[in-house]
């Protein structure tokens, strides 16, 4: 019988885990995660709002307009900070110059769409250096870009894992289509 094996499996649900952070800590950790991932190259030149220390922090308001908030240099927003801290992310171009913001919800929704399609239509990644998987992810990101808007709410470019101008995006879509055709069969 496999009673012992089944018992081991069932006991996985009882594995003790470290205590959860306080809910108030979650947002703070959210910013720390973003920083680590940026450092790892996962989000390249993406700068989190909380890291801005130069005074004016720009964010789209809930109504899609814009608002300017100021924070003392070096001030860390608290975990109960205004919603704008969590809703937008500052984006820089390849020269590390601030160009605008993206709505985090748009970016997350886009990532989930890509992940769902990869899982459904392609396959699971095989390690972190899965070239085809990474190529397909990049191509799908080009075909599903996240708008980057300036302080007036005007689209100034797109986030596809890095910032591109509208012209650069246009010139990339044919190649992205070809990659999707190649790896997904269209």
């Amino acid at each position: 019988m496999n009673d012992e094996f089944e018992r081991r499996l069932e006991q996985l649900a009882e594995v003790p885990v470290p205590a959860p952070p306080t809910v108030a800590k979650l947002s703070e950790q959210d910013r720390e995660r973003s920083t680590r991932r940026a450092r790892a190259g996962m989000v390249a030149v993406l700068l989190i709002v909380a890291a801005a220390t130069a005074g004016g922090l720009v964010s789209r308001g809930p109504g899609g307009g814009s608002e300017v908030a100021t924070a003392p240099p070096g001030t860390e927003p608290s975990s109960s900070a205004p919603r704008w801290v969590e809703e937008t992310t500052r984006v820089a171009d390849a020269t590390n110059t601030y160009v605008g913001t993206i709505d985090n919800r748009d970016a997350e929704a886009r990532d989930e769409r890509i992940l769902a399609r990869l899982t459904r239509d392609f396959r699971e990644p095989v390690g972190p250096n899965d070239e085809d998987y990474n190529r397909l992810w990049a191509a799908l990101a080009i075909l599903d870009p996240v708008p980057v808007v300036d302080e007036a709410g005007t689209i100034v470019g797109y986030w596809i894992g890095h910032f591109v101008t509208p012209a650069e995006l246009s010139s990339s879509t044919a190649g992205a289509d070809a990659t999707v055709d190649e790896l997904l069969g269209g």
């Binding site: 094996f5 885990v17 995660r33 450092r39 790892a40 899982t119 699971e124 390690g127």
Partner: protein, 163 residues
């Protein structure tokens, strides 16, 4: 009838606050991430990320099944970011998972399963979900989920020297 499962209480999310849900569900989310990461720090990072997303949606855009949603998202994100997270945390002094109460051989064996079997096993046993919930979250037919679980169990049993 749902399969039984040990683990934390499962509050009805229609009535509970985020804080109550979070405290009750946190362990399951961390455990699911363990199938794709190597340290507690990485697993907690995935769980925190997932719970933060849910917190932002809790008041106005809460998923119908917050627990299933969170476990599925954590599983996806661990699969997607696990290797990169490990690279990021590597050398940072993060403690490797070690606990006398932890069945490390079994967890290591789960990590070596093929991706779909690994996900099914992780959702079922680390996430403490029913077989039906596994099928739903993986977007497969119940029979497919059952097959993946059987194949995964069989490989684990062989790997661990069982009958």
């Amino acid at each position: 009838v749902p399969e039984g499962g040990a683990g934390e209480a499962r509050p009805s999310c229609l009535e509970v606050t985020f804080e109550t849900w979070f405290e009750a569900t946190w362990p399951r989310i961390v455990r699911v991430a363990l199938a794709n990461v190597r340290t507690w720090e990485e697993a907690e990072d995935i769980a925190s990320d997932t719970c933060t997303k849910l917190l932002k949606r809790w008041e106005h855009d809460r998923p119908e099944d917050p627990t299933g949603w969170a476990i599925a998202v954590a599983s996806n994100r661990a699969r997607k970011f696990g290797p990169l997270l490990h690279r990021t945390f590597g050398g940072s002094g993060a403690a490797q998972i070690s606990d006398d109460r932890m069945d490390l051989d079994l967890i290591d064996a789960i990590r070596d399963l093929p991706p779909r079997q690994r996900r099914a096993i992780a959702l079922r046993y680390l996430g403490d979900l029913t077989q039906g919930q596994v099928a739903e979250l993986m977007g497969v037919a119940p029979g497919t989920a059952a097959a993946l679980l059987n194949q995964g169990r069989s490989k684990l049993r062989t790997r661990l020297g069982g009958p």
